[in-house]
Symmetry: C2
Subunit: 130 residues, 2 copies
């Protein structure tokens, strides 16, 4: 039978408070504010367990370590800020993806990652330039 530990609860809370996908390091450092000696192995184990419970799901990004977000998100994509490295959920899809696929190929899924500056970093950038 599964137990409710401080560690797991702290990690769950971290996701709820963050409101955006988190990396392992983000989870570790945020959750440590609540459970001081929290070990990285415990984070990995609870991430796995929370995924099995379908509380969170993985977000695989090109050239980056996996991030984790509260599930179910429904179908959506992400925006990665090149300055603060934070990841944000975005909604909607391009409508003309199937025309990109060559003759004979069967399109089943698509991953889209938009990159640039988030709201916060866009503002800072504008302020600096003035």
């Amino acid at each position: 039978m599964q137990r409710d530990t401080q560690q797991k609860e702290a990690i769950r809370l971290t996701f709820i408070r963050a409101g955006r996908p988190l990396s392992i390091d983000e989870i570790l450092s945020y959750a440590r504010r609540q459970v001081a000696g929290l070990g990285i192995a415990t984070v990995y184990r609870n991430i796995k367990s929370l995924q099995e419970e379908k509380f969170i799901q993985p977000v695989d990004l090109p050239g980056q370590t996996t991030r984790w977000e509260i599930a179910p998100g429904g179908h959506h994509h992400h925006f990665l800020c090149r300055t603060c490295d934070k990841l944000y959920e975005i909604h909607g899809c391009p409508e003309d993806l199937s025309r990109l696929v060559p003759e004979g190929y069967t399109l089943e899924e698509h991953d889209i990652l938009l990159r640039g500056l988030c709201k916060n970093c866009s503002r800072k950038n504008n302020t600096r330039e003035r």
Copy 2:
């Protein structure tokens, strides 16, 4: 001064013959047909060197190891076959990406990965179903 070794030449040839992005394992096993004792460290070193020469460039995929393709490809995206795991280059972009970005965000780049069945695997799949 840089030397032309059998190993490096074999790797270069492997890319030319393949005509699609390759993983480290693909490069190692294909190039070994030409240079038997080829070591994995040599592959990594030559990949780096070929990248510096701008003969190849990395292709980062979500949840997969980096693949490598002949450069310059210009701006393009990829199609990953879920059956044979081969990666193909595709051309063109969706036209309405900027409408996906929330107010205040600055869109600079985008990565798109299409997934499904390549031509070969689509055909096999149809044949089997009949």
